[in-house]
Symmetry: C2
Subunit: 165 residues, 2 copies
């Protein structure tokens, strides 16, 4: 069971966009540069966030990305689902219906105990991520960073930010 | 994020082994037949359970598998970890240390908020599965099955069971 590296990148990129003044954003190039990762793969994650309605995209030479919603309304689950899909990790193929002693489909209205346990476990996983917004993450980063570090980042972002309507 | 089909198969197979009298087991062939799945892939899952110390294997023509512990002591997490590995699904690559504004490693002693949230989410997932033993699953199956269905299964298992020391 693996969560792709793209989720980490998208979560960091979206958190960075959350720091920008309204109406401004960053190009995929700047997002990749800031995080020290390949631009093509970062752009792919941003496209997935765009498709999920989490970021707005503007095209053209100055094209870039900005959050489509307030940082308080985007959760780590939203980001994870945008990259990994919303579907369950555990797929029940109803193998209890197979073989010489298979249970009749009519007797399988209640979810199999194994599938039910995974369903509950995945709900617990999702609930934890739903409780964590980009605003929460940002608050923590600011609290944990030195004034010098924050100022350096601010200057860099001011130089890189592009207007996005 | 996907949990492999092998986890479903291994969980069902281990639950079936939990119904057998002490000192008896089933061959991979019987386990595959009972669940209507390919023998080679079922055998692969059973080998993973064996490697994790959850089942005992006896070799030879009558070779087979039996649980290595009481059903009360084997959880769905044990099965999942045996098939999928115990490692975290989310891997933090510390990308906050990258790029022109990267945080110094010395300032990264506290886990990144994103990694921390996934760590908590995965703990919640694991805790749910740890609370579900094979004995719990079996109790539920017995309660939900008709006497006829249980008898049919019992007869089939009696015919297929092999002695395993």
């Amino acid at each position: 069971m693996q969560i792709s590296r793209g989720v980490e990148w998208a979560a960091h990129a979206a958190s960075l966009l959350a720091t920008l003044p309204e109406g401004t954003g960053l190009r995929a190039e700047a997002l990749a540069l800031f995080h020290g990762v390949p631009q093509a793969y970062m752009a792919k994650q941003m496209q997935a966030l765009s498709k999920a309605g989490l970021v707005h995209t503007s095209r053209g030479r100055q094209g870039g990305y900005r959050l489509a919603k307030p940082a308080e309304e985007i959760t780590l689950w939203d980001i994870t689902a945008a990259i990994e899909g919303k579907g369950p990790a555990f797929t029940c193929t109803e193998i209890r219906q197979n073989g010489p002693c298979g249970t009749k489909p009519a007797d399988c209205r209640k979810m199999c105990g194994i599938a039910a346990a995974f369903h509950t476990a995945e709900s617990a996983f999702r609930t934890t991520l739903e409780a964590q917004t980009l605003a929460d993450l940002l608050e923590e980063v600011v609290a944990d960073s030195s004034a010098k570090q924050l100022r350096k980042t601010e200057v860099w972002l001011e130089a890189q930010a592009v207007a996005i309507g």
